[in-house]
């Protein structure tokens, strides 16, 4: 029994060299497998969530993300919706647009964006819209986050 345990210990220890090599040599493969099989994504609080509507204005596009209220269990009372405009080079100096924050077919707010600074003003149409959170400069565009409250 003692000999079997010793042999088993040495075998497991030897296998750790294989584990080390497999981890390093097959790192990209295992990472892709992990991402695909688990379906893990970066939290929408960082990414803005999935894009649910794309409006083409000819030279540039407006991308409206889904409203984000994600929490560990259920949803938070307050969240946001992110709106992107891209590409940066094609954006006019000032943009004004009605935004359907809840993808309901009705505009929930109106955004006026100065693309040079970039600064934004939000006019509220829907009481679920709290106001502007912040405007951001992206690599190839601009983004605005509008604060929302849940019904």
């Amino acid at each position: 029994m003692c000999l079997v345990r010793r042999m088993l210990s040495y075998t497991v220890a030897l296998f750790m060299i294989v584990v080390a090599l497999a981890t390093l040599m097959g790192g990209n493969f295992f990472a892709a497998k992990l991402a695909n099989t688990t379906g893990i994504k970066v939290s929408p609080w960082y990414t803005g969530g999935e894009v649910v509507k794309v409006i083409d204005h000819g030279g540039y596009r407006t991308l409206i993300h889904r409203p984000v209220f994600d929490a560990l269990f259920g949803q938070t009372q307050e969240g946001f919706v992110q709106i992107d405009w891209q590409p940066l080079a094609a954006l006019p100096e000032t943009m004004e647009e009605d935004i359907d924050c809840f993808n309901s077919g009705n505009a929930a707010c109106h955004i006026r964006l100065d693309t040079k600074t970039p600064t934004a003003q939000v006019t509220v149409y829907n009481p679920q819209v709290i106001g502007l959170e912040k405007s951001y400069k992206l690599k190839d565009g601009l983004a605005v986050r509008v604060l929302l409250r849940r019904e």
Binding site: R5, R6, L8, S9, Y10, V12, A13, L14, M16, I17, V19, A20, L21, A22, T23, L24, G27, N28, F30, A31, A32, L34, A35, T38, G39, I40, K41, V42, S43, P44, W45, Y46, T47, G48, D70, A71, L72, F73, K134, Y136, K137, L138, K139, A143
Partner: protein, 391 residues
């Protein structure tokens, strides 16, 4: 240097003969060449120089480790070098890619933050319940991607357990470096209760991160933000966060290690370290104390950098769960009573093979992570010397 069978220092005797030592180093010579080059040798002379220097340095340390039997002494040199190289290579990379070390809001929205292992305990609960990672990184196909780091962490945890903290972690070398600056510690007696602090921090971090849906440790408590990337101070909140980062870095990574001669950030604060201790339960490698040889001199207890030995654990012949397998107690023991061993084999029957079996995977991970950083840092330094610019 003296050959096999001849004492290299009082009370110590090398177990391997010289040809055996060379034979033991051969696989590492090949593996480090493969891991460092990624199957493609550099062509530019400056890159070749950095590659050769890194290769010789790493293999030189492995040879010395095997030749002298002093694992901790040469691991420590590698570990500290990796931490310094990390700051140089990472900082230079950020300056090249982003133009500054500041993590801007647009970088966060674009998933531009490199994922670091310290955040792993905080992301697990949200990942399980919501399938999302509460970190502004990228899942795959990018430097320090989330999935890539998770795979690396998982493999290293299976192979080394909490050995990660002394062989793979690219931050740990900083407090280890500072802990070695003072030969005689000013603070000798540290209350054993402080050993539970990392567990308390872990609990708080895991719960608050899950409830707030954000990586609380990264946002408020990580001392290493001071030497890596940080947020631009644009609000009072960011100012408070920055003050906390700098205060924790100075106290836990610089001052306390110098005063105590221990790795205080790793042993008394780091929540990832506490979390990583759990992986020692499943790992085959451990440290064993031969009670028949032990004379209770307590040198191992007084020297353990992560407070992983106490009187009771020495009496039981094994370290605490938090052992990082750094080898300091093995090097220090005047009676050679402490050895690297495999679980399932009594310490009295342990041979040098157990140590070598641990050294291979440990060094493979150390080379794969640290080797690239040393190469990157050397390349930047050589470029700076030759061209006057790091980029």
């Amino acid at each position: 240097m003296k050959l096999s069978g001849v004492n290299t220092c009082p009370g110590k005797e090398r177990a391997l003969s010289f040809p055996k030592i060379l034979f033991a180093c051969l696989p590492m010579l090949l593996l480090t060449a493969l891991l460092l080059s990624q199957g493609k040798l550099p062509v530019e002379p400056i890159k070749q120089a950095a590659f050769i220097l890194t290769y010789v340095f790493i293999n030189g340390l492995f040879f010395l480790m095997v030749y002298t039997g002093k694992v901790h002494r040469y691991r420590s040199v590698l570990f500290i070098t990796v931490a310094v190289a990390f700051i140089i290579a990472f900082g230079a990379n950020l300056l090249e890619v982003r133009g500054s070390m500041i993590l801007k809001e647009e970088d966060i929205l674009a998933g531009g933050a490199p994922f670091c292992h310290l955040v792993i305990p905080a992301v697990i609960i949200p990942a399980v319940f919501t399938k999302t990672i509460i970190f502004p990184g990228t899942i795959i196909n990018r430097f320090a991607s989330i999935a890539g780091m998770l795979v690396l962490w998982f493999g290293a945890s299976v192979a080394l357990g909490r050995g990660w903290c002394s062989w793979v972690c690219f931050y740990g070398g900083l407090d280890e470096g500072f802990s070695r600056l003072c030969r005689k510690p000013v603070i000798k007696n540290i209350n054993e209760k402080w050993r539970y602090l990392p567990w308390a921090v872990l609990l708080v971090i895991v719960l608050t991160s899950a409830l707030t849906f954000s990586p609380v440790y990264c946002e408020w408590l990580c001392p290493f933000k001071t030497v890596t990337e940080f947020a631009a101070v644009t609000s009072f909140k960011v100012l408070v966060q920055t003050v906390l980062f700098v205060t924790l870095f100075i106290s836990l990574v610089v001052v306390l290690p110098v005063l105590t001669g221990r790795r205080t950030q790793c042993g008394l604060f780091c929540p990832f370290a506490a979390f990583q201790s759990l992986t020692n339960k499943i790992n085959i490698f451990t440290i064993g104390i031969d009670r028949e040889k032990c004379v209770d001199c307590k040198q191992c207890i007084n020297t353990c950098p992560t407070f992983s030995l106490d009187t009771d654990s020495v009496k039981q012949g094994k370290p605490l769960l938090s052992c990082t397998k750094c080898g300091q107690c093995v090097d220090r023991c005047p009676r050679q009573a402490i050895q690297f061993r495999l679980k399932g084999i009594p310490v009295s029957m342990t041979t040098q093979t157990a140590k070598m079996l641990f050294l291979y995977p440990a060094f493979i991970f150390a080379t794969a992570v640290g080797g690239g950083l040393i190469y990157g840092a050397l390349l930047r330094i050589l470029k700076l010397i030759i061209t006057g610019s790091m980029f």
